[in-house]
């Protein structure tokens, strides 16, 4: 018979408290709001799953969710390949390594609302450098407060500028960990640069790339500050991503019930996509 040491539970207890206070209690509060209606004074009325149904059926939510997926898809499809290409072209040794690393890390050190404000000024027609250059030098009609397409281009370029470095740094870490012998063996085996990438570099980068893509997915799916500062969700609703919409419902309209239901749906989608993605990426290691 196997004896089990019950003392182990005591060691888990502190973590349990921590998780309870920073995750379980807040989430349960949200769950509580999501199934009730309140008019203040702590008076609640049971609502069941009505809010969930209402949110899932609403055009407004579906449109925001669509925009959210489009945004995340676009930045991933740009940032991941671009990050890999930059990491591949960075020097592996020598005095330029620290220079490149610091340059790469700079955008990530800037606070999110500052990034939004910077790009806001940068893109202003007449005043901002980019806005002036596009409108008055190149003659392109660019004004993101008027044109949804310009607004989308701006938030995507801003995110690429801000976060490609994360993919670069993680990929670079994967690349420098490859021993020289691999490259030497590939040379002797007569492998082309593409095959070196496909069979040596990419497999060795896989773990860090999985982490990079997961982080970028979760961060971009939950993005709020930068587009809020930059466009405020406009023009119209064209750049109203999920989190911006959520804040509008919760704090703008003070509809706590629907907002809570929306939060839970939002949370479930993030969790589901992350899990799906992680399972797919690590599937062939487990055979």
């Amino acid at each position: 018979m196997k004896t089990e040491n019950q003392k182990a539970w005591f060691f888990v207890l502190p973590v349990l408290f921590l998780v309870a206070f920073n995750a379980l209690v807040p989430i349960m509060t949200v769950v509580n709001y999501s199934v009730q209606e309140t008019f203040g004074n702590n008076v609640f009325f049971w609502q069941g799953l009505d809010w969930f149904e209402q949110i899932l059926r609403s055009d407004r939510f579906q449109a925001a969710l669509g925009r959210q997926f489009l945004f995340t898809f676009l930045i991933l499809i740009i940032e991941v390949p671009l990050g890999i290409i930059i990491a591949l072209s960075m020097p592996k040794k020598g005095m330029w390594v620290p220079v490149c690393l610091v340059l790469m890390a700079l955008p990530m050190l800037i606070p999110w609302n500052v990034v939004g404000a910077m790009w806001n000024i940068f893109t202003l027609p007449k005043i901002g450098l980019m806005g002036y250059f596009l409108n008055d030098v190149l003659g392109i009609n660019y004004d993101m407060t008027q044109n949804p397409f310009a607004a989308w281009v701006t938030i995507i370029v801003m995110d690429v500028w801000h976060w490609t470095s994360l993919v670069v740094l993680l990929s670079y870490a994967g690349l420098v960990s490859i021993p020289d012998a691999y490259y030497q063996a590939a040379k002797i085996d007569g492998a082309s640069p593409w095959k070196v990438f496909r069979y040596i570099q990419l497999p060795k980068m896989k773990t860090v790339l999985t982490i990079a893509i997961l982080l970028r997915f979760m961060d971009s799916f939950n993005i709020y500050t930068e587009p809020f500062v930059l466009t405020g969700g406009g023009p119209g609703n064209s750049t109203t991503l999920l989190s911006i919409d959520l804040v509008k419902i919760a704090l703008g309209q003070f509809d706590l019930g629907p907002a809570a239901a929306m939060s839970l749906i939002y949370f479930a989608i993030t969790l589901l996509v992350s899990w799906l993605f992680y399972t797919l990426m690590t599937k062939d290691d487990a055979q």
Binding site: P179, A181, Y182, Q184, A185, K187, I188, D189, G190, A191, S192, K195, Y199, I200, P203, K204, Q287
Partner: protein, 361 residues
């Protein structure tokens, strides 16, 4: 397969080498016979890996030429030299199956699929890895991974030379012996020129027909394992090969003879040259304890199994002797006798006595 000639090879990792100390390789002239099994033996940092990388083309030498069958390949990149190299740590392509790993060098050279399948099957049989052909290479144990990297070298039948850079470093001791004999067997079957780099004398002596001993960027001796043991050309070889290594005792040279603590010592033959620092070299296997000879006191006796190693103090120098049968007690007074035909004089490290006819074994 080819004969490999290294002529006046020198290499420095510094851009502007000024003195001999700046060279990782100092003046190497070597001929590797076609189909030979060679070992490159020396301590870490003696330049053996540098030499290997120059032959494979991963490094371009500062000076000198490399010829494969009299064709100058000094400026050719590795893939055009038709060589194979097995590294210290097994290099395998993780995402491929064992079969694809073995086929990789052939596919890169555009060999027909039918021929590839044939070669892969042949090599797999030789290495005894047939049943693993369809498993992912990343799931193999280190010794099997190393077998696969050897296989990738052997799969090309036009390969000029297969080089091994300390290939057994990461292999468990009980498998080392197995892989080593596998290698020897492979050499007999494929008859390719093979160069085996190692700092382990057992590996070098069991694998190679010819051992090249290197020290500080220089080749100190080339010879069969027997030659290296019996007649080291340099005190370094004497000391590095053998267990325990050769006794190197400072001696005084007078009137064409050697005197150890004032006692004359019979040498294998005529002394050549003069001046310099003189030392006596005699292997512990040829030192015996007898009734007469040089007086010494036993300092330590270690039983190493088949025989015992007796360390005796001759004045302030220690002399080791391999003794079979009865061993003296620690502190006992003994007499040491050196077998004359295996007792040599070294001048500034290099052999300085002539061998006289029958003395040669």
């Amino acid at each position: 397969m080819a004969k490999i000639t290294l002529s006046n090879l020198r290499h420095s990792y510094l851009p502007n080498p000024s003195g001999p100390a700046d060279y990782a390789l100092k003046e190497i002239d070597l001929d590797w016979r076609d189909g030979g099994a060679y070992a490159l033996l020396g301590p870490s940092g003696c330049g053996k890996s540098t030499l290997l990388n120059i032959i494979s083309g991963l490094l371009v030498p500062s000076e000198g030429r490399i010829l494969f069958d009299d064709r100058d390949v000094t400026d050719l990149p590795p893939d055009q030299r038709n060589i194979a190299q097995v590294f210290q740590f097994p290099v395998i392509y993780d995402t491929m199956t064992v079969r694809d790993n073995l086929a990789f060098p052939l596919r890169n050279r555009g060999v027909a699929e039918a021929r590839i399948a044939e070669r892969v099957a042949e090599i797999a049989t030789m290495l005894e890895v047939e049943e693993m052909l369809d498993t992912r290479a990343s799931h193999l144990s280190p010794d099997n991974k190393q077998k696969i990297s050897m296989g990738r070298g052997l799969v090309r039948d036009d390969v000029n030379v297969v080089m091994f850079d300390e290939p057994l470093t990461v292999i468990d001791p009980h498998l080392k012996w197995k892989l080593r004999s596998k290698l020897k067997e492979l050499h007999q079957r494929v008859r390719a020129t093979m160069i085996y780099v190692t700092h382990d004398q057992t590996e070098a002596l069991t694998f190679a027909d010819q051992v090249v001993v290197m020290q500080e960027g220089e080749v100190v001796q080339i010879g069969t394992p027997v030659e290296l043991f019996e007649r080291p050309q340099h005190t370094f070889v004497g000391h590095f090969i053998g267990s325990p290594g050769m006794n190197i005792l400072p001696v005084e040279e007078r009137d064409g003879g050697a005197f150890l603590h004032g006692h004359p010592v019979t040498l294998e033959g005529q002394v050549t040259g003069q001046g310099g620092r003189t030392e006596l070299g005699v292997r512990p296997e040829f030192v015996s304890l007898s009734d007469q000879g040089l007086e010494a006191r036993v300092r330590k006796v270690s039983d190493v199994g088949r025989h015992a190693v007796v360390e005796a103090m001759l004045g302030d120098t220690s002399v080791k002797a391999v003794v079979e049968g009865d061993v003296p007690e620690q502190g006992a007074q003994v007499h040491l006798a050196f077998r004359p035909d295996h007792t040599r004089l070294y001048r500034d490290g290099w052999l300085s006595t002539e061998n006289e006819g029958s003395a040669r074994t």
